[in-house]
């Protein structure tokens, strides 16, 4: 029997996740006077935010020649892109705040690319009526997160690196903190807080072909689900049209924004048949389906990909605007896009769904907040526009941090729940490490990945999804009695892999259930057995809540207070 855990760390505000959302929230909470700490399972700079490429949207209006941009135009594009499932109050708030958020990062040191007059350059992106995507070459996420980490160092924010959060502590209807595993020492630690933020990013690694980092295992959604907090719109999973064939590494939408074209095996620019006006710059759901259809109908290249051709851009533009894409193509496919097309195929990219929260980032559980990709506020609805995820991290990260600081002022600590939980979690981990019933986590994970990509992929049907749900449920059950070969306490990465699998399999189920229940096609959720949008039945958010081991599915209204429903044409 391990020694009982009696120590507890105290922070007014605890942020789980060290990506853009988490760091921005921590800075805001710190700025508002709260004692804040960040807990992350990796060093913050290893967070997946670092991989964001193309840019961040804000109606700065730096492209005067293109007409007049406005936050309203940005919001309209976002709402239409979302297939009308986004909540329009949240979208309005985000788009109004966007220019401030971008200029703040600029004043903090982000090296944005510039136009001829030295202003922040802006380029066209999918589904956008104006060139409003600001960028730092094609390394926008990298530049933003390095700036925010620098600011966090300056502010002296306490960061607990390589801590894996095991569960949230609850008492008296409030979140009171959490319990985490220190990966280095293998010790379980209790953290007591007045407010706790889930800023853990998405769940892309549930799918076999994903652009996401290995660390994106839906940990925040799993924590919420276990705590009885609803998940919203989990069926909406974004498949990015262009990921590198073979490795699924992201090839930014910026490649098309700068003029790259998509061609099939017979050399046809096939987007003319799917979105005759917007062509390659239609929203991602539409382009991803077009590419998959070309491949499925035999017009792809051998092996199942199509070409993204940048040759027309020329060496200079590629070197200046897309140096990272060129490097990726050379390093991982042995292809120089200056002289040859890049082989691409669609792959999972983003989680529109997430932990349900209101427009102030508050969840149904007092003291628990959610923001960024981990959350569903909802600003992306059924399909996110490129350039809006980085924006969401900064706008809602800041708001969450401010609200946590404000709410914490009136709250008090209660250590009991975290301490008790720490002791039970310690026993649970010991069980996983010591059980003789060794399951090979990778085999379970591979089966889950394959099932989710084939049965809950770009094209969905009731028949396949029901089969997929049965497999996923079975895998989730197996995950509960998982064992590992590594028996060590320190640096036990096999244990982390097992815990991540538990999270992935428990988050997969709400995706399956929500998708099966939604008998329509909207945004990224495309049902070949229900190919039309059905506003009468499904202009609603899906909520899944787990209580006493049972999942309950309910629907909630979408807030449409400004832009009326339209058919989506591009």
């Amino acid at each position: 029997m391990p020694a009982a855990i009696t120590d507890t760390r105290h922070h007014d505000a605890i942020v789980i996740g060290g990506g853009l959302t988490g760091l921005r929230a921590a800075l805001a909470a710190n700025g508002a006077g709260a004692d804040v700490a960040v807990i992350s399972k990796v060093h913050p700079l290893r967070s997946h935010s670092v991989a964001a490429q193309g840019g961040i949207n804000a109606s700065l209006n730096n492209n005067k020649g293109e007409g007049e941009d406005s936050w309203e135009a940005h919001a309209y594009d976002t709402v239409k892109g979302s297939d009308y499932l986004a909540d329009q109050d949240a979208v309005s708030f985000m788009c109004q705040d966007a220019p401030r958020a971008v200029l703040e990062m600029e004043s903090w040191g982000t090296t944005f690319s510039r136009d001829d007059e030295g202003r922040i350059a802006q380029r066209p992106f999918g589904g956008a009526g104006f060139p409003r995507t600001c960028y730092a070459a094609d390394r926008t996420g990298h530049n933003l997160i390095h700036t925010l980490y620098e600011k966090a160092v300056q502010a002296g924010i306490e960061i607990f690196e390589e801590r894996f959060v095991l569960s949230l502590a609850m008492e008296g209807g409030r979140c009171r903190g959490l319990v985490a595993l220190d990966i280095a020492s293998g010790e379980v630690e209790a953290f007591s807080s007045k407010s706790t933020l889930l800023a853990t990013g998405g769940y892309g690694r549930i799918f076999s072909r994903s652009t996401n980092a290995y660390i994106n295992t839906g940990d925040g959604a799993a924590l919420a689900l276990k705590a009885g907090v609803p998940l919203r719109d989990m069926e909406f999973v974004q498949f990015h049209p262009t990921t590198l064939f073979g490795t699924s590494i992201l090839i930014s939408e910026a490649a098309r924004g700068e003029g790259g074209v998509l061609t099939n095996a017979v050399g046809e620019r096939f987007m003319s048949r799917y979105a005759s006006k917007a062509m390659e710059l239609a929203p991602r759901d539409i382009v991803a389906r077009a590419i998959q259809r070309e491949i499925d109908e035999g017009r792809g290249q051998e092996g199942g990909y199509i070409n993204l051709d940048l040759r027309e851009l020329g060496r200079e533009k590629i070197m200046e605007r897309l140096p990272g894409i060129r490097q990726i193509a050379m390093d991982f496919a042995g292809i120089d896009p200056i002289s040859a097309p890049i082989p691409v195929q669609p792959g999972q990219h983003y989680s529109m769904g997430g932990v349900a929260c209101d427009v102030n980032c508050r969840t149904a559980l007092a003291g628990l907040y959610a923001a960024g990709e981990a959350a569903c506020v909802s600003v992306h609805g059924a399909n996110r526009l490129g350039g809006n995820s980085l924006l969401e991290t900064l706008v809602f990260g800041k708001l969450a941090g401010e609200n946590m600081a404000m709410d914490s002022a009136a709250a008090s600590f209660d250590d009991g729940a975290a301490k008790a939980l720490a002791n039970s979690e310690q026993l649970r981990l010991k069980e996983i490490r010591s059980t003789q019933n060794r399951t090979q986590t990778s085999k379970l994970r591979e089966e889950l990945n394959r099932t989710m990509f084939t049965d809950f992929g770009i094209f969905r049907t009731a028949l396949r999804m029901k089969g997929g749900l049965a497999i996923a449920s079975n895998l989730a059950n197996k995950g509960e009695s998982i064992g590992v070969g590594d028996k060590a306490k320190e640096y036990n990465q096999a244990l982390i892999g097992a815990l991540e699998f538990q999270n992935m399999s428990c988050v997969a189920l709400p995706i399956c259930m929500s998708a099966i229940a939604r008998e329509e096609s909207r945004g990224s959720h495309y049902r070949t057995d229900y190919p039309k949008r059905d506003d009468l039945r499904f202009l609603k958010h899906t909520h899944i809540t787990k209580r006493a081991g049972e999942h309950a599915l309910t629907y909630a209204d979408v807030l449409l207070d400004r832009w009326p429903l339209e058919e989506r044409r591009y």
Binding site: V42, H43, L45, R46, S47, H48, V50, A51, L60, L103, E106, S107, W108, G109, T111, F112, S113, R114, D115, D116, E117, G118, R119, I120, A121, A136, A137, R139, H142, N143, H146, T147, E150, K151, V153, Q154, A213, Y214, G246, T247, I249, L250, E320, G324, Q327, I328, D331, F332, A333, Q440, T441, S442, V484, G485, D486, E490, Y491, Q493, A494, G497
Partner: protein, 253 residues
């Protein structure tokens, strides 16, 4: 093909373990290590996250050259040219059969924690020591010419993987030397027109733990997976200091 991997915790002497991994076209060293972890030995320790050479987690010594595992093709490590000597790096020769096996060890100049994982504390200590944050001037959107951005990008592309730090012979000897990544970061603020304290920053590196500690082995630029050239930044900073000294002595006379 075979991987020869250094194993052990912090205080242990390395023992080496051989793993047989399949040769698949396009496979990287990271893919091979993940294959081992998934199918043969889940006690093998190594860090990774993005697998796309942007997060800087997976720096390790591969065929005795510091590299990112995710960016290094497995097949390329069987070729003789994979064993380019990194000048003056104090690691032993030999010990593996080049062409038949790939040697994978933890980064030098940092203490091992477990297997291929090293303690990055000294690296980030140097980073924090240079005040790695913009000291703001007033104004909302600062205008900046694109050529200035281009010059800044030479250094802002750094992913802080510590591959340079582990290749630097000075970092191997001098505990207080800031090292290539931190000095490149310091220089990045010196040339950033938005920074309010640029001359203070130039002065900050004006010592043997800073600009003057470098001996221009240029290993940093050679091993950098992102094309950053800390040696160039250091040379420019030294030139700035010399010119400033000349300017001041002219004023004095």
């Amino acid at each position: 093909m075979k991987l020869k991997v250094a194993r052990g915790y912090s205080k242990d002497a390395s023992s080496y373990q051989i793993y047989e991994v399949p040769e698949k076209p396009g496979s990287t060293i990271l893919d091979a290590l993940l294959y081992v972890h998934d199918n043969q030995d889940d006690t093998l320790g190594f860090r990774y996250s993005c697998r796309g050479a942007v997060c800087g987690s997976c720096g390790m010594l591969i065929n005795r050259v510091p590299r990112l595992a995710c960016r290094t093709q497995l097949a390329s490590m069987l070729l003789p040219e994979s064993r380019h000597l990194v000048p003056s790096i104090s690691i032993p020769e030999g010990g593996f059969e080049l062409g038949r096996e790939v040697l994978i060890e933890p980064l030098p100049n940092l203490e091992r924690q477990k297997d291929l994982m090293v303690d990055m504390t000294p690296f980030f200590k140097a980073y924090k020591a240079i005040s790695p944050f913009l000291l703001e001037k007033e104004g909302s959107e600062h205008f900046m010419p694109q050529p200035t951005v281009r010059e800044l990008e030479r250094y802002t592309n750094c992913v802080l993987c510590a591959v340079c730090f582990s290749s630097c012979p000075i970092n191997g000897k001098e505990l207080d030397y800031l090292g290539p990544a931190a000095l490149a970061k310091l220089y990045r603020f010196i040339i950033d027109p938005r920074d309010a304290q640029r001359s203070m920053r130039l002065e900050k590196g004006n010592s043997t733990t800073g600009w003057w500690g470098c001996q221009f082995h240029a290993n940093c630029a050679y091993v950098c997976p992102k094309g950053v050239t800390p040696n160039y930044a250091i040379a420019k900073a030294r030139k700035m200091i010399r010119e400033r000294t000349v300017a001041i002595s002219k004023e004095d006379s």
